[in-house]
Assembly symmetry: C2
Homo-oligomer: 382 residues x 2
């Protein structure tokens, strides 16, 4: 199987898996326990906290461990909005945010908060000027760093500056960007940064919310003083250990991997353009993650195409993995103004650490073959 679905989930680094195995065997105690067994687990967590902090260049005490990206998005958007409640009851987020941000806004709506949306242009970019035009009761703005479907990278520093000028806090879902491009939190200007382990070589079930010192956050999970009162619950020690190792490896390798993947991605796109008539690459005019290609193959519906790819040994995705199974066009592509008939023919290919040059060559042949098949059996798509 050629796995071109690293944005959905990327394999756990063997070094991280090995460390998790040791943690599962040896760190049996609760890190909140005061005895020596408990303190050994505590030390492991604090080491991982430093590893995650180094990935995005923040202080260790700004790292709060979570169960992943969805919890991070909820904890950040809801927690920041609740903490800012005296100043207003409105949040804003881009139309291309991950489902989890839309979901968190739904939860907020139940507690009386309104939401405004920031549209994107044809290349999938948020206009920082739109932030300046948000309603005055907006207290929190959420804009992702890189889109999960297209890989388009947002001008976050400009967006954050526009938000800061109006006293708004910025939540940045960096789930797809972390580990794929270098990140310095202070350069982005975000108050809250959301990271997920399984997108960067760590395990599913572990993530981090980076909380800028002094940025008010009302905890979503409460109880004892876990994570300095910012996230209740016994820490996922093995998951956190794995996330830490993966973060350290990613920090060390991101520059080299970035260049390697970009070359592979460009070769893949060139092969697709040469072998598949009519292919359209979305967001091609914007800065993009080096590993992501979102391409439409007109007259080859993506659900049929994915089946044909899968049967030929190529794993890819139609938009977000979370939405798999549906034939609805991706809201991200619709927000970019992609016509419905093109949007329902979009496939996301996301390369990763295990991807080889040979796989790229073979995958391009498989795609061309599958598109031909689907087009011939399907006729016109409406």
């Amino acid at each position: 199987m050629i796995y071109f679905d690293h944005n959905a989930s990327t394999p756990v680094r063997p070094e991280a898996a090995a460390a998790m195995g040791s943690a599962l065997a040896e760190l049996h105690a609760n890190p909140s326990s005061s005895h020596r067994d408990g303190q050994r687990a505590r030390v492991a967590i604090e080491h991982a906290r430093e590893q995650v902090a180094a990935l995005v260049h923040v202080r260790a005490d700004e790292v709060v461990f979570t169960s992943g990206g969805t919890e991070g998005d909820h904890a950040a958007l809801i927690g920041a909005a609740w903490a800012a409640e005296p100043r207003g009851r409105r949040v804003a987020f881009s139309a291309i945010e991950h489902h989890a941000v839309h979901g968190a806004a739904e939860v907020l709506a139940r507690t009386g908060f309104a939401a405004s949306h920031l549209g994107v242009g044809r290349e999938g970019l948020v206009d920082p000027a739109a932030v300046a035009a948000l309603p005055p009761d907006t207290t929190v703005v959420a804009v992702m760093l890189a889109n999960n479907e297209t890989g388009v990278i947002q001008p976050l520093a400009a967006i954050a500056a526009a938000a800061a000028a109006r006293g708004m806090r910025v939540v940045c879902d960096a789930v797809q960007a972390a580990g794929k491009i270098p990140i310095r939190r202070d350069d982005l200007g975000a108050d809250f940064l959301v990271i997920s382990g399984h997108k960067l070589g760590g395990p599913k079930g572990a993530g981090a919310l980076i909380v800028r010192r002094g940025a008010p956050l009302a905890a979503l999970f409460r109880g004892s003083a876990h994570e300095r009162g910012r996230r209740g619950g016994t820490e996922n020690v093995p998951g956190i250990v794995g996330l830490g190792i993966a973060a350290e490896l990613a920090a060390r390798e991101v520059a080299g991997e970035n260049a390697r993947l970009l070359a592979l991605r460009e070769r893949f796109e060139a092969l697709l353009r040469a072998s598949v008539p009519g292919v359209v690459v979305h967001g091609a005019g914007a800065p993009r993650l080096p590993n992501t290609v979102n391409a439409s193959f007109p007259s080859a519906r993506s659900d049929h195409l994915l089946l044909a790819l899968d049967s030929r040994g190529l794993a890819a995705s139609a938009g977000a993995a979370c939405a798999s199974g549906g034939v609805e066009p991706s809201p991200v592509l619709r927000a970019m103004g992609v016509p419905r008939e093109l949007a329902i023919c979009a496939v996301r290919f996301s390369l990763g650490r295990t991807t080889t040059a040979d796989e790229v060559e073979r995958a391009a042949v498989i795609v061309a073959d599958a598109v031909r098949l689907v087009r011939s059996t399907q006729g016109a798509v409406t």
Copy 2:
């Protein structure tokens, strides 16, 4: 080290750790992905769902995977209260609930919900009649199955019957009970049952919320259709696999382990009573988990005692691990009417699968020795 702190966290079953190792290595895809790699991860999750369902005798589709007990308590209490909002804006819970339930009620308070408390008697038991006396706008009642500090087992069926008679939904935190005593959800009558992996031989970071069919629940994490819309977020595949194996082993072994631990616990208590003057076992007159002893050693403050125990190779806890480090008396013991001077001398010993008869003998000697030391160096405690 003799580890008598299994209620804080118990070692991961080697079979569970091995299965997690395989999952980390092989199930790299996202279970929401439609391709074959994704479907392999999906199959593993659904197998674990059946294993967890069997532990508490429910249908697999009633099992929702979470990140652990704290998330479970929050998702259940908040989700049930929000879903019942048209009928009232009040929840009730016992005074001895885990911090996470108190924390979830704090979150609810932010969204306009009031809370009522159910007291406990001297043995730590909730009176089912108190449920009948709750204010009429109460929609959800939370009572744990077994207390984490004392091991006292609540008369849940009677409590649930009283709640049902008034149309209230019942949330039952079964975190400490699951795996230690046999549980049939339908015998308990709870609408929502909360389970945590690391209390029953599974990993930290994985748990389950059992949602009775037809019991309304507003999801706390939203996004895509994960867990049938009841919990957004990519599933923690290795953690869920480990939880499933641990649940299956626990279901198979609980009856035998129950008898074995009860004999060890009774021997330990007998040794303490024989060798430590003035020892008081809390909740001794109530049904208790077979593995838990919460005992006060008058004139030996628990923080000093725990240090002495730790230095002699015995890991135990003062009340909840989550509250370690503080010298405040346990709210659980205070709710039971234990005087402050006795409550600050309480230590929880919790036995587990790895506990041997020899450890019990040695631990009793260590405790007697440590109590003598602390009493002699400390004098009267106020």
